[in-house]
C-alpha cells in the first residue's frame, strides 16, 4: 500500500514535469536579427508564404506599393524542419538577396550539448555571409570544422545550405537555376 502510494506520487510528479516542459518554439520577434541581415531595409513583411519567410523591402510597401524586395529572410526550422542536430533543430535565421547570395546567418537558439563552442560563437554563423547557393557548404572545405562537435556543425551547415537553395528555387528563378 505504502509502495503503491509512493509509486503514484512519483508518476504524478513525472507526468507534471513532462507537461510543464517548455516546448521550444521559434523566436516570434526576430526584428533585431532581420535588421542585421538587411541593414538597408525599410520594412519587412510578416512571416508568411510557403515556405514561411520574411520579405525585406528597401522602402515601405505601405507607402510605395510597387517597392521591389531586397531579399528574403527565413528560419531554417521552417524550411527544413526535419534537419536535426545532436539535440533537435538548430534555429538559424538566414538572409538571402535576389542574386542568391547569403546576406548573413544568425543562430538564434539551439539545445546542442556542445553548442557553446560550436554553433553558438558568432564566428560560426559569420562565415556564411557572402556565400552563394551554388557554394559547396562542405564542413572542412569551405566551412570551418570545429572538430569534436561535428554533428552540430554539420547539421547547422546543411540546414543553412538546403533552406537557402529551397528558397532560391522558389523565389529566385534566375539565381536558383543550376
Amino acid at each position: 500500500m505504502k509502495q503503491a502510494a509512493a509509486l503514484s506520487v512519483w508518476l504524478a510528479t513525472a507526468g507534471a514535469a513532462v507537461l510543464l516542459a517548455q516546448r521550444i518554439i521559434t523566436n516570434p520577434k526576430p526584428d533585431a536579427h532581420l535588421k542585421v541581415l538587411f541593414p538597408n531595409a525599410a520594412a519587412f513583411s510578416p512571416l508568411s508564404g510557403d515556405p514561411l519567410h520574411f520579405t525585406a523591402y528597401g522602402s515601405d510597401p505601405k507607402t510605395t506599393p510597387a517597392a521591389p524586395p531586397l531579399g528574403y529572410a527565413f528560419w531554417t526550422t521552417d524550411v527544413v524542419p526535419n534537419e536535426h542536430g545532436y539535440h533537435g533543430p538548430i534555429h538559424v535565421l538566414v538572409g538571402l538577396d535576389l542574386k542568391g547570395t547569403l546576406t548573413g546567418a544568425i543562430v538564434d537558439y539551439d539545445s546542442e550539448p556542445y553548442g557553446y563552442f560550436s554553433v553558438e560563437p558568432p564566428k560560426f554563423a559569420a562565415q556564411f555571409k557572402g556565400k552563394t547557393i551554388h557554394d559547396a557548404f562542405v564542413v572542412g572545405r569551405d566551412v570551418d570544422a570545429v572538430s569534436r562537435a561535428s554533428i552540430s556543425i554539420g547539421s547547422a551547415t546543411r540546414a543553412i545550405r538546403d533552406s537557402s537553395r529551397i528558397i532560391a528555387q522558389k523565389f529566385l528563378p534566375e539565381a536558383g537555376k543550376d
Binding site: A14, Y114, Y116, S147, R148
Partner: protein, 298 residues
Amino acid sequence: MTTAAAETWRDILAPQALDLSLLAAFIVLAMTSFFLKSVRLKYFTLAAAVGYMGFVKSSLLSISDFFRLTDLSLPPFAYSLAWYLFTAFVVVSTVLWGRLYCGRICAYGALTQLMDAVLPAKLRINIPARIERRAAWIKYGLLAMLLVYYLVTHDLATPVQYAEPFWMFTLFGTKLMWIGLAVLLAATVFVRNLYCRFLCPVGAALGVISTLTVFKIKRWSECNSCKLCEKTCEWGAIRGPLIVKTECVRCDDCERLYLDQQKCPHWLIQIKRARPSAAPAASAGPSAAASSAPSSSS
C-alpha cells in the same frame, strides 16, 4: 529533396569513412582485450580510449543521450553513422556483459584508471566498504535529479557542462568548469575512480540497464567463503558470494583470479583432490571443470 545539387550516397559516406573505420577498430580492440582477459591489451585499450575516444573524437556517452530519448530527438542517421554504431555498441554490450563501457570505453574512466596505475599506491585512501556501498547510491540520486531538471527545463547544456567531466576532452570549458574538473581530478588521486564509482549519472543509467546482463561472471561454490576476489575488486562490486552487477565494470580482475590455478581456492581444492591420480590439466578453464559447475551470480 529539391536542392540544387542533390547529394549522392558517396557524398554522404565518404567524409565519414575514416571515423567509422577507426571507431570499429577501437571496438574490436576493446572486445579483444575483454575476451582474452589480457592485462597488456587492456591498458592498450585504456590508452586508446583516452587518446582516440577522448581527445580525437570527444564523443563519449553523455547523460544528455539518455535525456534526449524522452523527446525522441536523435541526430540524422545517414550523416551520423559513427554515432549510431557507438550508441548501438554501448547498449548491446551493456545488455550482454554489463557496464563494460565504463571499464574500458569511456575516456574519462580510462584516464582515472591509468592515473590509478601510475600514481603511488600509498597516496590512496581505502574507503570502508560500509561507506563505499552507501556512496555508490549517490550517482542514482544525481541521475534522478538531473532527469527531473531536464524534463522541467529542457536544458541539456548545463548538465553536460557541470554534472559530467567528459567535455574536458574537447578542451573547451569555462574557468568554472576547469576549476571543478581540477578539484575532481585532485580528489581522484586519493580515491580511485571516484567519479565513476560514486558520482557518474551515465554509469548509473548504464547500471540500470546492466541489471539485464545476459553473460554474467561465473562464481564457484568456493566463492561463498573466499574473500580473495572481493579484496581485489577495485570497484567495490563484490559482496561475499555476490557480484553487484550495477557496480561491476567487467575489469576482469576477478576473472583473471578464477583462471589462476595458483591462487583461486577452487583450483587448489581440485588439485588437492586430483593429486593421487594425476597432475591437473593446465588448460582447463572454469567452463571445462565439470565437478563443481559454476553458478551465475545475481
